[in-house]
């Protein structure tokens, strides 16, 4: 039985959290088929200790291709390496993260190895009898759920949104094998060079991987009023988001935009204020676990998707929530 692979991700020598989320998805599939789960990682200079965490989080084997030229994600070389590993080891299934690198790498690999790929899956199952991977994803702005499979090609490949599954608990007693591989020179493609890096704005950090996102829209009225949401966000360690209206007005930069023309996110909690909820916006938050909406208009679309809604003036509601959260925190601290 061929194996289930997950594509782990690293940044500056550290594993990214999404690597562990993929392993929890992959573990279920591998167990169902009674096969091994392998994490594949491309990078430079990662210690055994770091790689072992992949085993402690569910992997049976870790394939690590270690070369300084793999330190930064470059799709050409990454795609050559992964395609070469696929031809050599013939995995049954590959899961990758729907991140800026995963969503670039996997479609490139799909062409190189001639197989199908399904983007942004929310559910993955193994079909009885055929062992085909059943991949369910939202489409048409989240209005339908399509279940897709790759019946005649191998491997079966899917990307999965960050934060759409929980990592397995760390189990330091788990045993596994770490296989270090050398980068083959013929796979190196240096046409694209990383020549620099620019940090995002302060609150930029990873809206797609945030546990909690606090977002504002047109109802905020002006950029300064985002201070209210910043305070609210600080209580949850949340990342700020914004509707397209707010971004188009220049209140927050584009990387914060949530919705079809911005980011699609799956946080545990999404709190939004002054966002009426266009179809495009709702499509970007449909897979959030809990949605809390605050809006003046009782007929606002956003309330149809909310788990908890407050119809009211956000300039009254948010300060009260902030005050209560501050008091709550103080009480906890005592």
């Amino acid at each position: 039985m061929s194996h289930v692979w997950t594509i782990a991700e690293q940044s500056k020598g550290k594993l990214r959290a999404v690597s562990f989320e993929l392993l929890s998805r992959g573990r279920k599939l591998a167990d169902k088929m009674g096969t091994k789960l392998c994490a594949v990682l491309l990078g430079a200079n990662l210690s055994d200790e770091t790689l072992e965490e992949l085993i402690h989080r569910g992997a049976d084997e870790v394939y690590f291709v270690d070369d300084r030229r793999l330190e930064n994600f470059i799709v050409e070389t990454y795609s050559n390496v992964l395609s070469d590993l696929i031809r050599q080891y013939k995995p049954h299934t590959i899961l990758a993260a729907a991140t800026s690198s995963g969503r670039t790498l996997m479609p490139h690999v799909a062409i190189q190895v001639t197989t199908g790929l399904t983007a942004d899956c929310t559910e993955l199952e193994i079909e009885e009898e055929t062992n085909h991977l059943l991949q369910t994803r939202p489409a048409i702005g989240g209005n339908i759920m399509a279940t897709i499979k790759t019946p005649n090609h191998s491997p079966q490949m899917a990307t999965v949104r960050p934060k759409s599954s929980r990592p397995l608990a760390l189990d330091r007693t788990r045993q596994g094998r770490i296989i270090r591989l050398v980068l083959k020179e013929e796979l190196v493609d240096l046409r694209v060079q990383v020549i620099g890096y620019r940090e995002g704005t302060e609150e930029f950090a990873n809206i797609e991987e945030a546990e909690v996102v606090v977002a504002g829209g047109k109802g905020l009225k002006k950029a300064e009023n985002f201070a209210l949401l910043r305070e609210l966000a600080s209580h949850f360690n949340a990342v700020l988001g914004a509707s397209r209206d707010a971004v188009d007005r220049g209140w927050l930069p584009y990387p914060h935009q949530v919705g079809l023309s911005g980011k699609t996110i799956s946080p545990k909690l999404y709190i939004c204020a002054g966002i009426s909820g266009s179809i495009q916006h709702l499509a970007g938050i449909k897979t959030a676990e809990y949605i809390v909406a605050i809006n003046q208009d009782p007929d606002a679309n956003i309330f149809r998707l909310a788990d908890f809604g407050i119809v009211g003036n956000l300039f009254e509601v948010i300060p009260l929530i902030n005050a209560k959260l501050a008091a709550h925190k103080k009480k906890e601290g005592e």
Partner: protein, 265 residues
């Protein structure tokens, strides 16, 4: 600078009404438009042409009615449009679509840049752009938010990633997929509209492109949609009216209870 822009026609979704009982989109009266994210690609292409000279060519794979999208792009300032259309293309997934478009781009001649929208708002996969780059063997930068520098041989771009911007230098020809941050799409001009009305668009069929039938349409697609389901649209959440001090306090208290129950605070 010769620029190719593959675009897609999608249903206009900003005014879409949902059927509350079935959770489906009411298609009646929905018009088709250029994929909103492709507008950023078109604008970027036109700006590069204005700066460096050359030509911007748009192409789209779709039914005859997709001519409208090409004409809109020409009205914005693109120079030529090609429709890649054949009954045999029906049911193509991203693998077969990227094969077909890449073959059309090859046929269209030499180019310095292929610029695509990051994804289309209907399929929402973002897979066709990188797929075309793989078929054509072009260096690829996805999520491009800014073009810093262009020379005859190379381009420097910024690419939006999870925690900032990666700055890439790459040789031309290359393929970029772009995000909204890169440009502010212009509206078609009257002159552009006239030009679009007058221009003849060439149609390319599977035979014109000498495509391998085993690689196109549903037959050439590795993936199969086997089931369509409808997600629950509403979450039937609790809605509180925060009017007056009492109402306000009650609503916020209820919110705290909700957050505590769900272990969110």
């Amino acid at each position: 600078m010769e620029i190719m822009i593959p675009i897609k026609q999608v249903p206009e979704t900003s005014n879409v009404k949902m059927d509350k009982d079935t959770g489906t989109m009411i298609r009646e009266g929905v018009v088709s438009v250029i994929n909103p994210l492709d507008l950023y690609a078109i604008e970027t292409g036109i700006q590069l042409k204005e700066k460096f000279g050359g030509k911007v060519t748009v192409c789209t794979m779709g039914p005859q009615s997709a001519v409208k999208a090409l004409k809109e792009a020409i009205a914005m300032g693109c120079d030529e449009g090609f429709l890649i259309s054949d009954k045999k293309f029906a049911g193509a997934d991203t693998w077969a679509t990227s094969y077909t478009i890449s073959e059309a781009i090859k046929k269209l001649g030499s180019y310095d840049l292929v610029i695509a929208g990051e994804r289309a708002t209907d399929g929402d996969t973002g897979q066709v752009g990188p797929g075309i780059a793989a078929w054509l063997g072009l260096p690829l930068a996805t999520y491009v938010s800014k073009i810093d520098n262009v020379t005859d041989e190379s381009i420097v771009v910024e690419r939006l990633v999870e925690d900032g911007y990666q700055i890439l230098q790459m040789p031309l020809p290359a393929l970029l997929t772009v995000v909204k941050e890169i440009s502010n799409p212009r509206l078609p001009t009257l002159r552009g509209k006239k030009k679009a009305r007058a221009c003849q668009l060439q149609v390319m069929s599977a035979a014109d492109l000498q495509l391998n039938d085993a690689c196109i349409g549903l037959k050439g697609s590795p993936t199969r949609v086997i089931k369509i389901g409808y997600p629950k649209v509403s979450r039937s959440g609790k809605i509180f009216k925060a009017s007056g001090d009492a109402g306000l306090n009650e609503a916020v208290d209820a919110l705290f209870q909700f957050l505590e129950e769900k272990e969110l605070i």
